[in-house]
Point group: D2
Chain length 430, copies 4
């Protein structure tokens, strides 16, 4: 098997460099043997490592060695960088070395020379007086271009805080620029796995679920068994019932998309009506509403807790208005009551308040996915100790819709047809 010995020196331990080098080797499927490792035995000593790497093929080994060059390793076999002559103006030869913004050296005629003007996404050109980066548009036919492979070395920043200083793209914690359909797919896969393991799924939802029109989709997920428990506020229940009594959410028609005449009264009339009946079950029994999130929860016997807040109207009869009591009930839901399995997966959709409340009570070993259109919501949740959170920055309405398509297509079909009909009956345009 082709092999090569590399060495590293410096604060490779506390800067995390050694860890990253081992990671790269393992990720490449190569074998390694630690020939020598001297760790600075006191805080101010530098460390030294020598590692022998073996890989299945010569080309894999070369590719791996090149990557390790990004972490500043030296190879015992010292060879010059490969150069190729540019054959065109304005483009590099295929296989050119693509730069990072780190300080870089290339080995030419047995000497390491500094690359001038380090800049990302360029090539390196070697000339009589040295080496420099060249942007693609400035390549001229005949230039000597450094190719990928041996003989290139960068100086990674030695950050004593262990923060990854290697060059990369898209390494932020949360970003809206991710493939969304795939994220839906991955959440669906996790939910299926949790159900298979007989653990429970906890949903934590904000009123945006209803405002964005995805309550029927969440209803389908409840019917399909993917919502074992729901934690939400008065608003979710109130607007859900409003939408089933009046066709509006916060007064906005869910089939026309515009504010209904005097629709601002709808939620307060809905709350009043439920209060007159004394409980969700009594109101359902009396036929006040016959669909939606609350309806499905109650009729399927799912767990739920609606926790009050200072901005509530009403509130609805089953809303718990004492905060200490809400937390007690939430903990019981998480750990299971009367022999129930504990929660094994938690998804927070469109709420910061209830999401942080849940994060506060949830053990770190329960995966927590937070879906919100606002990046700051996810950041805050993670900054309050729920470091296991995975943030998905997207539209809550369309996300739940797609998730229901994946997990509960059968339950969804009648919902979709019904919605289609109602929308077709309207003639409002944007």
């Amino acid at each position: 098997m082709p092999s090569e010995t590399i060495s590293l020196e410096g604060h490779i331990m506390d800067s995390g460099t050694l860890v990253r080098v081992l990671d790269e080797i393992v990720a490449a499927g190569a074998d390694f043997e630690m020939l020598d490792l001297k760790i600075g035995m006191r805080a101010d000593n530098a460390s030294v490592a020598r590692i022998k790497i073996s890989s299945g093929s010569e080309s894999d080994l070369v590719a791996l060695i090149e990557r390790l060059g990004q972490h500043g390793v030296n190879t015992e076999t010292i060879v010059d960088a490969t150069l190729a002559i540019a054959d065109l103006d304005g483009a590099f030869p295929p296989g050119f070395y693509s730069t990072t913004n780190l300080d870089t050296q290339v080995r030419v005629d047995g000497r390491w020379i500094e690359v001038r003007r380090p800049e990302m996404d360029c090539g390196v050109v070697v000339e009589d007086d040295g080496a420099r980066t060249v942007p693609m548009a400035d390549v001229r036919s005949g230039m000597q271009v450094v190719m990928s492979g041996f003989g290139i070395r960068v100086t990674p920043p030695q950050r004593p805080d262990g923060v990854d200083g290697s060059f990369s793209f898209m390494s932020s914690d949360v970003s809206s620029e991710k493939p969304k359909a795939l994220l839906v797919e991955q959440v669906a896969a996790q939910m299926r796995a949790v159900k298979k393991s007989a653990q429970r799924i906890l949903w934590v939802a904000g009123p945006a679920v209803v405002h964005t029109g995805s309550a029927p989709d969440l209803g389908a997920l409840i019917r399909a068994g993917y919502v074992d428990a729901l934690f939400a506020g008065n608003g979710v229940a109130a607007h859900d019932i409003e939408s089933n009594m009046f066709g509006t959410s916060l007064g906005v028609s869910l089939t026309l998309g515009v504010a209904a005449d005097h629709g601002h009264e709808h939620h307060i009339r809905a709350i009043n009506e439920i209060r007159r009946h004394g409980s969700f079950a009594a109101a359902i029994e009396a036929g006040v509403f016959n669909a939606g999130i609350v309806y499905e929860l109650v009729t399927r016997g799912a767990d739920y807790i609606f926790g009050g807040s200072v901005r509530d109207d009403g509130p609805l009869p089953e809303v718990v208005t004492d905060m200490t009591e809400v937390q007690r009930q939430l903990r019981d839901i998480i750990w299971g009551r009367d022999g129930q399995a504990p929660v094994g997966f938690c998804i927070v959709v469109g709420t910061m308040l209830h999401g942080i409340a849940t994060g506060n009570c949830l053990p770190a070993h329960v995966p927590l996915v937070c879906v919100d259109i606002n990046q700051a919501t996810v950041t805050k949740l993670m900054d309050r100790g729920s470091f296991q959170s995975i943030g998905i920055i997207t539209d809550v309405g369309l996300f739940i819709r797609e998730l229901a398509e994946k997990l509960a297509p059968e339950e969804l079909r009648p919902v979709r047809e019904d919605a289609q009909e109602r929308i077709a009956g309207s003639n409002t345009v944007l």
Copy 2:
């Protein structure tokens, strides 16, 4: 036909109150006759209007009159507010008057009395010493509650700037809290109508289209004829081609959702390869890529212009790097070249820079829909004079996916199956 005469007084003209009263009457389907209208003939005179309203039924008329009460009108028939006795603790009788936060008067025993503590979403209780708002939770059985109907009057704020001062919910220009599937439906309906009228549809897109994984969906829309022209930047083309050459966008795998090893080089290698071929068409001919947005545009002969920007790598061969020239070509696309129909609908997805550029050149009579996950993008577009813009705050990726489902389901089927297969083949979990 039941009728009633109302009167208004004050700065009803410049505060817009009269306009709103007429709007309410027309919206209610009622008839009106302007009995008298004196407009202050000089800027400092108040105006007076008397209007006779007729409606099909007594109950419709009462409901309308109640609404007009929100604008401060007086009725000639003066009757007291209807009172009902609360039959329960903690809830109002059905049909109770639901308050706004405006100063309010109710007519009791022939006298208008002020409602103390005006506050929204409450009821009004009449007691010996006057009237006051009562929150739902504080209702006690036996209280005298004011019911909807005559005998209630609010004082609308007289804002001389004509800004609507009437009480309402959800009146902001742009909000993420809207029913999303419906908005997709409405955009689809408009696109179908524009195609039917033989006008053209202009898409303006940012790289988020590719990063969020919706390039195949946009491709399906191109094939189905819903993209007559595209205006975008170097990044859209580069990442689209990257994703078809390497399966990544900005280095993030579109089937795994994680950063590919050294994926940050992919876009620069893709650009280099296209530059080596000299044009999109030549690269397609040579088999460099065979799917995606650019591929569909070129092979379908759709119009496109990729305008450069200061952050571009490369750029790609057909990117126009002179800004003045980009604007010239954009205007030609808008108004049509060589007998083409002009653009009749414009949709901006995930880009502020190119969106504002387009808004600058577009006449106000062309509908402009701006889809972005960031509210500030839409606000800025509208604040630069494109007041006709309609903002949709949502995830660009899921939006285009849903739109393609609506408009191009046939084109989409093979895409979906293919994606499903590739994702199933991966085993990365969140």
Copy 3:
């Protein structure tokens, strides 16, 4: 006095056009006489108005008439547009007519001709075959350019919903692109006016006040008498006390800006300590903390209410955990207890939850300013009926700092010097 008679026709009433024309006239300081006004007496009739306008000078009148052209008015004196010959390539003659994106006509040789390719921020050039917009860069010396003044007419969109369809910039409800120091100045002026009128100022604050380091500034404002009452949550009090006991907020050092070692325990230890003393006053008495928001409120005898929420740790002793009770106390603060004056101005800083709760209880006649770094917070507040809200999109920390500089410079001096000293003592750099 020079005068001119104009006429308008169409849906000038319900589209709001007439109102806007009168507004323009008044804003220009001109006089007007309504010569004739026929309002469509039924909903489907168009209206007609003739107005005589008089102004102090001929040039003012001409400028006003030109502006009115933006609303589609016709003048009885019909004159051609003034043309000037472009004297340079690439620039218009001074005084050129700057276009909007609305459909536009210019009068040439006694005929109104359509301007081709309407586009904003261009000029209009008249050629043999008609008129068209020309971007500045495309001006060529010798072109005939339309000048500002008579003979230009646009077709405003007739939007039956009364939405302002006239061309403008920066008309959105809320935007971060506003002059910030000026907004601080204006809020300061309002607070001074409210104090002078002997009404009270209610602050509603989120924990960002403490995290951003502006608690000492808010403390100075309390001492200077600009905070009659505070409504906040457990977090504000907890982090305020944490910062005075441990120098951190949410564990982040306020003098170093980095997370303190195990700082995440600080707030919980602070809460525990206060609970051990039973009340803020007892803890202050015992010397647990001697500065900050809570300290100033308690020692100055200001009104306050800390309302609990589901995410609270502890909570602190004086936090009201029942939501219905919180609302009752909030209403009492707003309207005044025991002969107190009512609240005359309310400022919400860095909180959506408590801001919406306050908006729910506040009458519309009390000015409500909402300061937040997140545009969505302000939009939501306005969309929940608090239409009187004025949103300021800015950094809460720097905003309060600047406000304290304006209103309480004397109180602030020792605070600033102290902070300077502590920061200087640290040597952490960014």
Copy 4:
């Protein structure tokens, strides 16, 4: 010196645990000796470490050992956890152990027992049947509470990706919840240091600088020598000149805060006027404007480049419209022309486009601070390879104002007085 020997086992290398343990020891100022370190010589072997720690005092050592417990280390000296009896209902004894959300064990009677219901910010109570977390509100007098110190051990998540799995608050890359005045102070300190080292400072600015009213502050910083070079777009120059010719930015009055009548024409008239003069210098010479950013740059001889974009009006005479040329000039500014020192510090304020463009060209060793009100801007910059960026989420206007107060108070005094006067002269209120 008191000492203690600890051991760790498992994937301590690739999970980064060992690195973090060494960090904690060093951060605590303790000494360590690596007694034994066996690194799994192949990828699938676990590693083992034994470390002797010595510290100045017994109490410091105990505190350090407790912290190391958070990383799952074992101590050779095995002692039970200290227990204390709760003396009050509803509060813990001072010195109680405050929990994380990680799985936790406490040592009682020589046995490690699992703590049930792991949850953050609670205490641990030991009862006959085991140990469990207890929220503060549920503490009852007489309970046995675990105290900080030895005998507590958590199981840190072993994340093979090296992501820090230890419990913490406020660890996100960027957050708006940071002490703002302090961040200003730190940026000021860095700028002073860079000037002292004779390197240059590059500012990259978006038009928000002008819209938010901080152009005079930036002007003061130019005069004081803190702006060696500026990279911006046409908009910054256009609105800066607009504000000095007309008192508005994008048509909004900078002294009144409201849209000026027909202010939307101002920027286009400003651009036209400068184009008529052919250059900034010629226009200044002719007295067209005599203050502002452009004025200071030109008259002080600072470096600048205004790069065009597709949304530009005009553009202004010195704007470079070819994108490839803009990048060339930007690189020259970064590395210095004709013997200039290179850029040693870069600050990006209120622009994503020009910020990413600069990040693309800047070497990683130049510190890059990005100030924006929008978190997504900073995230995007970092996700495009500029990993060295430090993001500050704040209001650009108030940030520059405060920075100018720190760095250029002398230059600022006349500016402030002048502004005060103009604002005082206005009587518009919010």
